[in-house]
Amino acid sequence: MAPVDKSKVPWWVSNLIVPLVNLTLALLVSGLFIFIAGENPYEAVRLIIYGSFGYIEGFAYTLYYTTNFVFTGLAFAVAFHCRLFNIGGEGQAYIGGLGVFLVAINFSFLPVPIVWLLSIAGAVVFGAAWAFIPAYLQATRGSHVVITTIMFNFIAASLMVFLLVDVIRDTSQMGPHTVALPKEQWFPSFKDFAGLFGIKIRYSPLNISFLLAIAASVFVWFLVWKTRWGYEMRAVGHNTQAAIYAGISPYKNIIIAMCISGGLAGLLGVNEILGVHHKIVAGFPAGYGFTGIAVALMGRNHPIGIFPAAFLFGILYQGGSEVTFDMPNITRYMFVAVQGVIILFSGALENLFRPQIESFFVNRLNIKASA
């Protein structure tokens, strides 16, 4: 099929209809997996919707997961605009969490809001630092960031377990985790807010980091599309040779893009440490870094797309835990597979039906216009 004239395709066809068709395909394939695992896909969908929307605690959990996915989705997207595949969000978030904890515990004599700001800065700096080495090696040596960032995930995991076991472990407890932060430093949670309105909730991990996620989205939008630096970075990503001729340094932009990406991934540590665990527990990034890849690709690497995509994965995670609860044959790994399918259809295979869909709509609109 001949490709249609891109300028004639309405924005909502390429940015709304095509992604939705791809998502539908991905969910159909996922349903097949659930069937192979010996459960009823229709029943699974019902459980997912009930688990994520059906009751207030469930919905709060959905938004809590959304928060994490916004951070890691934005992280992947920023680097991707410079054509860098930062799949090291997992490790950067882990180290970012270390930054949050170290700042919070060492500056506890300062007023709480200042500690929060410093901790957020700590998350960004630590996350960025962990992304800096792969970035530097990519820029100077051409070492592919996919391999180096994956290796830095493994190294971060080893390093953190070492620290949690031998250096900063809470020695009064058995498990590999640190002491808890002082209670006044904990982020106010949804439970506290709901309490103000007289709604009683047993527990909720949702906290004010959600607002930080919104702020981060606005920040990324402004940075990538409204600043000179964002323009330079996209130029390097789009056509490195042309960018060089225009006097733009790919070296500088690769490093800046990766560091900002790492810093955004580090913010996951803010949500997890200040908002939920209040201490570092081993393995707290729990795959959120990888999910960010799917979130960013589904959201077409734009904050306006990433936010709903993160929400969708929030539904999938929270609803998914409801499914694993009720269906003995489904484990949370099934939803890792679903992520893979979504990346496949909305990333690698995004052109599968794009020409057909676009020409269909363009022809329809032409008929309307000439009628």
């Binding site: 997996f33 192979i36 695992a37 010996g38 459960e39 595949f85 799949i87 080495i133 792969p134 090696l137 040596r141 051409g142 070492s143 592919h144 996919v146 391999i147 180096t148 994956i150 290796m151 830095f152 493994f154 190294i155 080893s158 390093l159 377990v161 070492f162 076991v165 031998d166 990888f290 890849i293 799917a294 690709l297 003995p328 044959n329 489904i330 484990t331 790994y333 099934m334 939803f335 890792v336 597979a337 679903v338 992520q339 893979g340 399918v341 990346i343 496949l344 990333g347 690698a348 295979l349 995004e350 052109n351 599968l352």
Partner: protein
């Protein structure tokens, strides 16, 4: 003599540990020489491990498990080709999708079918590959030097170990001494010139990916039906990426890639030996840090102390035929 036998066992482990890396690196050479990036070695290795273990468990024969693993890996390679060669999707995204899909799917299905948190049932002796003792290994053991080399280092490995090292000269021969290999390399360097010569670029890339699938299946089967007697979650543990780093370090060449794989294998063997050992001046190194050594080495090798890596010219770019 204890020192000698220590060295022998270290070399023996090196050969064994390097085996999946060698298969994966050879698989990577085929894909990347044809111009298709293959980060999905990791996912395919994991898939092969899962399918080989499950297939062998149900069919009672490890060779049938291996056959199924080959079919599964070739299918995944075809999927990668479908997305990135035919539909010109982003090759790296396609690989990342396959890796995440397989990490999830293998563990999820293992849990669903066997209910053991992502483990498959332990295979008995008929269902797995056993060590191969070379002829006269027992009687030659007491001969000095030769005994150690033949009986302690070369004999007593799984069949995959021998196949892996045999595959290296074979891959070298195919890639550098046959007309197929010439075309393969040309497709990766300058696809439009190859197209002009009347060779189908797409078909060449699909063929390369098919060979890639066969080779990587051996790596996975080695893990789950030879060295271990079952599949467990994420058992490939980054080996696909390590192999890819070895291949890049080896400049997309079988012989140098083999050397890099052996270096990885040796570091890993050494790493296992070092756990819990008091070193002079340093003391005991924490086990978590020792385990990170292969990963650190990967980064160091990639950063390349031997000059910048030059990839095949057309790598990562979908070929668009002129109209």
């Amino acid at each position: 003599m204890e020192f000698l036998s220590d060295i022998a066992s270290l070399i023996n482990s090196t050969l064994r540990i390097s085996t999946p890396l060698v298969f994966a690196a050879m698989a990577g050479i085929f894909a990347e020489r044809s111009g298709v990036i293959d980060f999905s070695l990791e996912g395919k290795m994991l898939m092969a491990a899962f399918v080989a273990a499950v297939g062998s468990y149900f069919l009672g024969n490890p060779w049938l498990g291996l056959l199924l693993a080959i079919i599964a890996c070739v299918s995944l390679s075809m999927l990668h080709g479908f997305a990135s060669v035919t539909y010109k999707g982003d090759q790296v995204v396609s690989c990342v999708a396959i890796n995440i899909l397989i990490i999830g799917l293998t563990t999820a299905l293992a849990a669903a079918w066997f209910g053991q948190a992502g483990l498959t049932p332990t295979l008995n002796e008929d269902q797995r590959f056993l060590e191969v003792n070379l002829p006269f290994a027992g009687s030659l053991r007491d001969v000095p030097i030769i005994g150690i080399i033949y009986s302690d280092i070369l004999s007593g490995h799984y069949i995959f170990v021998y196949l892996a090292y045999l595959s290296v000269p074979l891959v070298f021969w195919v890639v550098f001494k046959t007309s197929f290999g010439l075309r393969l390399r040309a497709v990766g360097e300058n696809p439009s010139a190859v197209d002009t010569a009347g060779i189908n670029v797409f078909a060449m890339r699909y063929k390369a990916l098919a060979i890639n699938g066969v080779l990587i299946a051996f790596a996975g089967a080695h893990l789950s039906t030879a060295v271990n007697a079952n599949f467990f979650r994420e058992m490939s543990a980054g080996r696909g990426y390590l192999a890819l780093a070895a291949m890049i370090f080896g400049k997309w060449h079988p012989k140098t890639a083999l050397v890099a794989c052996l270096l990885f294998g040796f570091t890993d063997a050494l790493q296992i030996r070092l756990q819990g050992v008091e070193l002079p001046a340093i003391g005991e190194i924490p086990v978590q840090l020792i385990q990170a050594i292969p990963y650190v080495l990967t980064v160091v090798l990639l950063a390349g102390f031997v000059g910048k890596a030059i990839a095949p010219n057309a790598i990562g770019q979908p070929y668009i035929k002129e109209r």
